[in-house]
Amino acid sequence: MIQFDTVHKRFPNGTTAVHDLTLDMPEGGVTVLVGSSGCGKTTTLRMINRMVDPTSGTIRVGGKDVLEQDAAELRRSIGYVIQQSGLFPHRTVLDNIATVPLLLGWGRRKARARAAELLETVGLAADAGKRYPHQLSGGQQQRVGVARALAADPPVLLMDEPFGAVDPVVRTQLQDELLRLQRELNKTIVFVTHDIDEAVRLGDRIAVFRTGGHLVQCASPAELLARPADDFVADFLGAERGLKLLSLTTLADVPQAPAPEGGAWTLRLDATGAPVAWRHKDAESADIPVRPLRDTDSLLSALNESIAAPSGLVARVDAAGVLTGVSSRDDIHEHAGVAHEQGREGVPSGARGTARAAQDDPHTPVKGPGQTEPRAEDGTGDTDADGAPAPTTAERSA
């Protein structure tokens, strides 16, 4: 959908922002550009809608060279969301959203009707439309920013650190909303962030940039976390990248057993069958609250819960919140190990993140078991934890 072909950008002051970038951003996918400040990720994004023109090389959107199109018309055909929303303070929320439709000559009535429709799409109340941006919270403003970008239903959406200025709770909500919207709308999204967790959460593919505008690696989140191309990427992903990998795998495949009876700890349920707390048989300590997990929750949450639970057991519930069984710390650990091994071998783990379908990376040949040489920093000991290392995934999970 968006193709960069040996694109180079040098600014008049001599700094190279983007260095010979060749990158394909697939249609209907979320490509996240990450890297520290000054790595060229924002410049790369801005070259797509010609907010910046490249020094050399070609950028094609939908097969058409962007430089051969009128810049203003090109921009109207591409949604754009920026940090702190960049809303027009003197226009009502409705008129802000209607910006591009009005530029396209839809007429005020039709543009406003479309804007009203989008308020609902992004989860805002209808009466928010009459307000001015400064009367909304940061999170609400960001939703308006997204609605404005979607107004003319562009196939491509550019998002430049859109959730950078909101608090972590709202940020998570907005990320969830974006994933929900993306399931409905299936846009081609290019998303810039410096937050690797956000990248892992949202990206179908993640492109890691290094200072000087060099693209270091572009891969699916699972592959990136399991097999960083070099030390720079590994450092950028952080020391907990093994745990981050677990956030991409769900709990669904982990076996469960009936809740224990008569042990030191028993699981208390409420009237509907939903787990509430662990109670010690001697009642010498207070009840410990339970955070039950669904099949769609990640292995990372399960691991976290299994460490917090006194019995090492995780309460599993169905979609309605009714207890279905418990999973042991050992089982969760074992599956965590499997997820890692799959990642190292380039096999997309069985049930990837709740939001996205697993996506094979055509650029990465899948290595056979014999070629697999676990990287030193990957071997955190989990392969040995449950006995002899098994050579293949299939045997391991059998």
Binding site: M51, R76, G86, F88, P89, H90, L103, Q135, R148
Partner: protein, 215 residues
């Protein structure tokens, strides 16, 4: 100093004519000042090297004594209303130009960038985004310029115009204080009313600045 009330009631028609003439001179000057300073301000805002030059020039014009300006204009436009209006316009420029430039400067870069990224062309951005957002600062300049012009019209008495200023010369020449007092009061009233109207106009034009964040 006593006021001769019968003089006032005998001269209501004259007073009305003078007041309207006074107001017309001041308002024409402010409007002309806006017409001249808006494009100049846009140039000064966009072309950095010209900015200092234009603002400096308007400052220099402002330092010319008002009587001197009228005298200098005499060979050009003679003892006419035109001379009055041109002179006053020159004075309004310094305030209008500076405030308009500052108003345009005050528009957040993020907002202009958003307009561009949405596909708004530069002229439309200027008219529908930059000028509206600069309006509060521009209006502050218009208010100062208007009050200043209203008070300065009187100086044009020296070239036979001057609106209510004629009352001052009349009173001084006859050593009769009533016209002077009436002239001062009417000038003050004109300034106050004009300012109040401008505040109202700004309120109407900038609805987004009215309501503060509601819970």
């Amino acid at each position: 100093m006593t006021v001769d009330w019968s003089w006032i009631s005998d001269h209501t028609d004259d007073l009305t004519t003078l007041t309207l003439s006074h107001l017309q001179a001041a308002l024409t000057a402010v409007l002309l000042g806006l017409v001249v300073s808006l494009p100049l301000a846009v140039v000064a805002h966009r072309v950095r090297p010209l900015r200092g030059l234009l603002l400096g020039l308007s400052n220099v014009l402002f330092t010319i004594p008002s009587i001197a300006i009228f005298v200098l204009l005499l060979p050009v436009s003679g003892l006419t209303r035109t001379t009055t209006v041109i002179g006053l316009t020159i004075y309004t420029l310094v305030v209008l130009l500076r405030n308009t430039v500052e108003g345009l400067d005050s528009v957040p870069a993020k907002t202009k960038e958003a307009a561009k990224a949405m596909g708004t062309r530069p002229l439309r951005t200027l008219l529908t985004v930059e000028l509206p957002l600069a309006l509060p600062v521009i209006m502050a300049g218009v208010r100062i310029a208007t009050v200043m012009a209203i008070s300065l019209v009187s100086v044009a008495t020296y070239i036979g115009d001057g609106g209510l200023g004629q009352l001052f010369t009349d009173g001084f020449q006859r050593n009769f204080p009533t016209p002077v007092i009436v002239g001062v009061v009417l000038t003050l009233l004109l300034a106050l009313v004009a300012d109040a109207l401008l505040v109202t106009l700004q309120y109407v034009l900038t609805p987004w600045t009215r309501r503060k964040r509601s819970a």
